[in-house]
């Protein structure tokens, strides 16, 4: 499980401290020692999404009290199967779960399990309390999905090395994805059970939640909520040796209050409000050994304030300030305990502020005095080097020393630097820091000492992949080499959010942590296996195939030698062919194209989860024309299925240059086989809607309509053929927009070419057709859901138990929209049930007709919804019942319900398959039902299969970051309390007030997809199976078969046995035929 922990809104710094917490440490030590008999700290242990089968013999004092080996069956009893991590849910002995960790198939272990990992101090039946038991375990099989579960952490914001006196060197990082993780420095893995004792303090939620983590296992030791009124920059100061009432203390500033917190238990010793006058506190300073804590800040960017507080009581000793009329720009940069530096508001002068004993002095220096060729645009880099600071200019970095009298002095100047690390204190009292410079396809890491600017301690050049972009951050750490000199290792964070460890000019490891922030996913096919396989190869394959199956047969008949068993295992691994780069018959092997927040595309292989290619999109990188680029979504651009088969499939990446809706859009088309950018368009019109159209051209490029902020629709691809297709269909193309700020749903039609200064035949004007205005005092748009464009529906009829037919109302143009009362937009419980209501609509988006409207009184959001076929399932909170609820609406067509004559159907003279226009006044009726649901839901999805025959499952991303697959049968509005036998036969489940949560229906088993944000489902070619990709900080991939795999044999199906049976049968037929012939003859001779 690792010791990575995520907290909801982590923004603050991480600091490393050694807590003098002997008591707890001893306790932890004791626990770990008790478990040491069965604990393994192997970094190579596979992270497992696995289900394991074992044979076990459980003994207590030599007496076998339980075993799986006895019983019927070939190998004795039935093997015992369990999911890894089941012990956390209490279904498996913890000792067994932990004990098989790291075992290989076929291995045997004798586990001596202490009572706390077995039956505890209560005992079970014949087992007395506090019994240490023995488990003799043989691991028979591990079934796992090699893609399974990948753990990422996101872009690193802060890093703290823990290398001193530690057996296993680690770095603790906090990231933009609100993750605190401890990484193994040797491999870069998120480290599991490793024995080092130190604690991590994190400050999160804007400085209001302080948490202490235990490093070995990532457990939270304590949490303190620090209340305050005003939002402010969170600060954390941990003095190295300060004790108040024998407790170690740390100081936290957040929400306008300064708190002294005991490190042992998180108890607040004292607190003091500082923000009452509006001072923005920027630094807490505690000069070692004194009794005074300084809080330094700015008031309105022009007044410099210093507070002196008593560390013991929090009493305000002194408050003094001084006005700087010219004003500051940006934050203060502290160069020592009593000196700060800032730029003035014009950006041309540096101000050094000296404060001590109630005296503040400013010393202003023009930058141009220090640097002759200064042309503006200087920025102070945060670097924490004692007595100095670094000024970044356009083309160079300048090191400036602050003298005691406040005078500034340039001590060094370097060419451009892309990233500068914080200073690192070395053992001999010196400070070192590092700079990263970019070269052509390489980066240069330079480490300098703060007292010697001119020479470099280390200068290392490392080759760097272009696809990683620029270096964004660097953290350094020193180690003592064998020759007693200092060596340095640097942790660098790249533009694509990947994390690398550099040491001696080499990349020790890399982590693709950009994958922690996936924005969008699309699946792409793999290339088809090429024809022209030689005969020899086929023969070889056939021979191998037969040999393999014979071996398997031997295994089933229990006559396999150990060598054979090994061969079978090896074959299983090889023959799985999961990682091949070609399509398979079942359509399980695909590429998942993911777009990350850093603007990088990755192609992940569904077989083993490896990265096939990655591409840092230039259109989504910061440039002069595009200041704040960010990716928005991915769309299937070209998907050759029927013709144009020699074309590679491609995806369309849509991005935007700024945060506002009218900022220019960027488009790129990327080949999914090769990962090369085929085409890109920078800074086109703004993009408000992307509408993939259900038409494609002769190259099987799908037509897309991109609607800009002005309501102009732009057609892509920009080709004459596409234009022709589009103009033919022009009258039938509509679009709608749900304006959440104005509470209006508007429908538009596409008209003729737009009138612009520059004529553009691919631009079309749109006109308003209809609008639905929701009453702003009682309703606010909370959520929308539509059917997936690629969803396939097999049948339009729903057959009930009495052989009657209900016609599903299936339309791609339906929109589910939920509104909540504006008051109820806040968190759950912020309104009374009477004030809040949830209204849901089903709207035809062509005509704007409201097909169904329903009000849930006393309910509020957040609303999650999923729309599939003719039904919507949505999740919300019921304030009256104080529980979450899920509702289902099924929409049926009344207009077709009179199609009851069989003869018509037999003769085919019906109109059930003729195209339907939305203007033909639909008559619908709906059925709905609501159920209580235990979990809060983060995201919802529905399984999708190739032909839409298989029943559906609703996939719920729970608040616990797991994926729960809930059968749609539970969400059937026709459930009644006492279904008739016919209804039962149809599969209607008796009505219950709440939806059951069956532990086996967790698609993620015992795993967590940390920070779960989205679930994507992709149909495979096998109708029964759907591929599910859940992403958050972690990635998880699995296959789901909502109605079991009814259309395929299991992987270990013995073809050889089948063949043998057939051969035996044929032989038997032949022999009996001969016999009967003989007998006939004899009969005749008689």
């Amino acid at each position: 499980m690792g010791c990575r922990c995520s907290s909801s809104y982590l923004e603050g710094p991480v600091q490393n401290t050694s807590l003098q917490n002997e008591g707890r440490r001893a306790l932890m030590g004791c626990l770990l020692a008790a478990a040491a008999g069965i604990f393994f700290c192997e970094a190579a242990t596979a992270v497992s999404t696995s289900r394991r089968a074992v044979h076990y013999v459980a003994k207590w004092k030599g007496i076998t009290f339980m075993t799986s080996r006895q019983g019927l069956g070939v190998g004795g009893g039935t093997p015992y199967g369990f999911d890894v991590g089941d012990s956390e849910r209490g279904t498996v002995l913890k000792g067994l779960d932990l004990g098989v960790e790291g075992m290989r198939v076929g291995g045997q272990r004798l586990l001596i399990v202490p009572p706390e990992l077995a039956y505890g101090n209560k005992g079970v039946q014949e087992i007395p309390p506090n019994a240490t038991i023995e488990l003799d375990v043989e691991l028979l099989a591990i079934k796992q999905n090699p893609f399974g579960h990948q753990q990422y952490i996101g872009k690193v914001k802060h890093a703290v090395f823990h290398t001193q006196k530690a057996a296993r060197k680690r770095v603790v990082v906090s990231t933009e994805e609100n993750v605190v993780a401890s990484l193994d420095l040797r491999h870069g893995e998120i480290c599991g059970y490793c024995h080092i004792f130190a604690d991590v303090i994190t400050l999160s939620s804007g400085g209001s939640v302080l948490r202490a983590w235990n490093l070995p296992d990532g457990q939270m030791v304590w949490e303190s909520t620090l209340l305050g009124s005003k939002a402010s920059k969170p600060l954390l100061l941990i003095p190295t040796n300060l004790k108040v009432n024998r407790d170690n203390v740390l100081f936290v500033y957040g929400n306008g209050f300064i708190h002294a917190v005991a490190t042992i238990d998180g108890e607040v010793i004292w607190k003091k409000e500082l923000a009452s006058e509006g001072v923005d506190v920027q630094q807490l300073i505690y000069p070692d050994g004194s009794d005074t804590l300084y809080a330094v800040g700015l008031l309105g960017l022009s007044q410099f304030d210093v507070y002196q507080l008593d560390v013991k009581s929090g009493e305000l000793l002194r408050h003094y300030n001084m006005l700087f009329p010219a004003g500051f720009s940006g934050d203060l940069s502290f160069v020592s305990d009593d000196t700060a530096v800032a730029m003035d508001s014009t950006g041309t002068a540096l101000v050094a502020m000296h404060f001590q004993d109630g005296q503040i002095s400013f010393h202003q220096t023009d930058v141009s005095q220090l640097i002759q060729d200064f042309s503006g645009g200087a920025v102070i880099l945060p670097s924490k080097i004692a007595g100095s600071f670094i000024l970044k200019l356009d083309s160079s970095v300048v090191f400036i020393k602050v003298r005691n009298d406040g005078k500034l002095e340039v001590v060094g100047r370097l060419g451009h630097a892309d990233a500068v690390s914080d200073a690192l204190s070395l053992s001999d009292g010196q400070q070192a820091f590092s700079l990263i410079q970019h070269g052509d396809g390489k980066i240069i890491l330079t480490v300098k000492l703060s007292n010697d600017w001119t020479s470099n301690v280390i200068e290392e050049t490392t080759q760097m992949d272009h696809q990683r972009g620029l270096v964004h951050k660097v953290f350094i750490n020193s180690y003592v080499r064998t020759d007693r000199s200092n060596g340095f290792r640097a942790l660098i964070v790249m533009e694509d959010h990947s994390l690398l460890l550099l040491q001696q000019g080499e990349i020790v490891w890399t982590r693709e942590d950009g994958l922690a922030s996936i924005m969008d996913v699309k699946a792409s096919e793999l290339p088809v296996e090429k024809d022209g396989v030689s005969v020899a190869k086929v023969e070889h394959n056939l021979f191998e195939w037969l040999k393999g199956h014979l071996l398997k047969l031997k295994g089933t008949l229990m006559i396999a030698t150990p060598d054979d068993v090994a061969a079978i295992q090896k074959m299983r691994l090889q023959s799985s062919e999961k990682s091949k780069m070609t399509r398979d018959r079942n359509g399980f092997r695909k590429l998942l194209i993911v777009l990350t927040r850093a603007g990088k595309l990755f192609a992940l292989h569904t077989g083993d989860g490896r990265i096939v290619w990655s591409l840092l999109l230039n259109t989504l990188r910061k440039s002069e024309t595009c200041e704040n680029p960010r990716g928005i979504s991915l769309h299937q651009w070209q998907d050759p299925h029927h013709h144009a088969l020699d074309e590679n499939p491609s995806v369309l990446v849509v991005g935007r240059c700024g945060h506002t809706s009218d900022s220019a859009g960027v488009l790129s088309i990327v080949d999914t086989y090769t990962g090369e950018e085929r085409n890109h368009m920078g800074s086109v019109h703004s993009i408000a809607h992307i509408i993939p159209l259900p038409f494609s051209d002769s190259m099987e490029q799908r037509l897309h309509l991109l609607v800009d902020a002005n309501g102009h629709a732009h057609l892509y691809p920009r080709s004459a053929e596409a234009l022709g297709i589009f103009q033919r269909e022009l009258g039938n193309i509509y679009w709608y927009s749900a304006e959440t700020d104005k509470n209006i749903l508007r429908g538009h039609g596409v008209r003729k070419n737009c009138v612009l200064e520059v004529s553009d035949e691919f631009c079309f004007d749109t006109r308003d057709l209809w609008s639905i205005v929701f009453p702003s005092e009682s309703e606010k748009i909370a959520a929308t859901a539509t059917r997936s464009l690629n969803e396939v529906v097999h049948t339009q009829a729903k057959v009930t138990a009495d052989q009657e037919v209900m016609y599903k109302f299936i339309s791609k143009n339906l929109l589910f929209l939920a509104t909540v009362a504006p008051k109820a937009v806040g968190p759950i419980g912020s309104v009374t049930p009477d004030e809040s209501s949830l209204v849901v609509y089903v709207i035809d988006t062509v005509t704007g007709r409201i097909l169904h409207r329903m009000t849930h009184h006393g309910s509020q959001g957040p609303v999650q919804a999923v729309f599939s076929e003719n039904w919507v399932v949505y999740h919300y909170f019921n304030l009256r019942a104080h529980r979450y609820e899920m509702s289902v609406i099924e929409i049926y067509d009344q207009a077709r319900a009179d199609n009851k004559e069989i003869l018509k159907l037999v003769l085919g003279t019906h109109n059930l398959t003729s195209p339907i226009t939305a203007y033909s006044r639909p008559e619908v009726f709906t059925k709905s039902q609501s159920y209580f649901f235990t979990h809060s839901v983060k995201t919802m999805a529905v399984t999708s299969t190739a032909k839409g025959i298989t029943s559906k499952q609703v996939l719920l991303g729970t608040i616990g970051d797991q994926v729960l697959a809930l059968d749609k049968r539970f969400l059937d509005p026709r459930r009644t309390i006492n279904p008739t036998p016919a209804e039962k036969e149809e599969g209607i489940i008796p009505l219950t007030d709440s939806l059951p949560i069956i532990p086996q229906s967790y698609a993620t088993h015992a795993l967590k997809v940390e920070g779960l944000r989205g679930i994507a489902t992709v149909p495979s070619k096998l109708e029964s199976t759907t591929l599910v990709f859940a992403y958050g900080v972690d990635l998880f991939f699995t296959h789901l078969a909502p109605s079991r795999t009814y259309d395929s044999l299991t992987e270990d199906f013995s073809y050889a046995l089948l063949l043998l049976t057939i051969v035996a049968l044929v032989a038997a037929i032949f022999v009996t035929w001969v016999w009967s012939e003989k007998k006939d003859l004899q009969e005749k001779w008689r």
């Binding site: 039938n732 052989q803 203007y919």
Partner: protein
């Protein structure tokens, strides 16, 4: 064996004289045995054969009727089996039903053959044939009725609609909350 021994003595081991001297009407060299009157035989022939033929026709028609009524017994048997098989679809009930269907069909196909042995100018086979066909049709009806009770006949609207794909929309609309 004795014969063989008897002819051992002669040079020819055995011989058959193929000259017809007994049955042929044309050569009557050999006298009829005493008490045998050829005339009476010929005289009798017509009466006896007529009698015989009548009896045979009677027998044939009786037999034909018997054959025609045979499915009737079968019907009861079949009905009992069907009742035993129950109305749920499983191997046994399907087997019974299909045999109940196949048997009459086969019988109907072989109506001519079944009554072939009883074909006679004097016997009127139409009535038994009709009865036979009717009874088999009843059997077939029973089989179909059983098939229907099992729910295997496409007599419901649902059986025809389920395979129809959903209709296409003429219009197309997309969009959502602005990005």
């Amino acid at each position: 064996m004795d014969k063989g021994k008897a002819v051992m003595g002669s040079a020819r081991r055995w011989a058959v004289d193929f000259t017809d001297n007994s049955t042929s009407h044309s050569s009557r060299d050999i006298l009829d045995p005493p008490g045998f009157t050829r005339a009476s035989q010929e005289q009798d022939d017509s009466a006896v054969s007529k009698q015989k033929k009548d009896a045979e026709a009677n027998w044939k028609s009786q037999k034909a009727w018997e054959v025609a009524q045979a499915p009737f017994k079968n019907l009861f048997m079949m009905a009992f089996m069907m009742w035993m098989a129950g109305s749920t679809v499983h191997l046994f009930s399907i087997g019974i039903t299909f045999s109940a269907l196949l048997q009459p069909i086969n019988a109907l196909r072989g109506v001519g053959k079944v009554f072939e042995p009883y074909k006679d100018n004097k016997v009127d086979l139409l009535a038994p044939k009709l009865v036979f066909i009717a009874l088999n049709l009843v059997g077939l009806g029973l089989g179909i009725w059983k098939l229907n009770t099992l729910g295997l006949l496409p007599t419901h609207i649902s059986d025809w609609v389920s395979s129809l794909p959903p209709p296409q929309d003429v219009e197309y609309s997309g969009g959502g909350i602005p990005l």
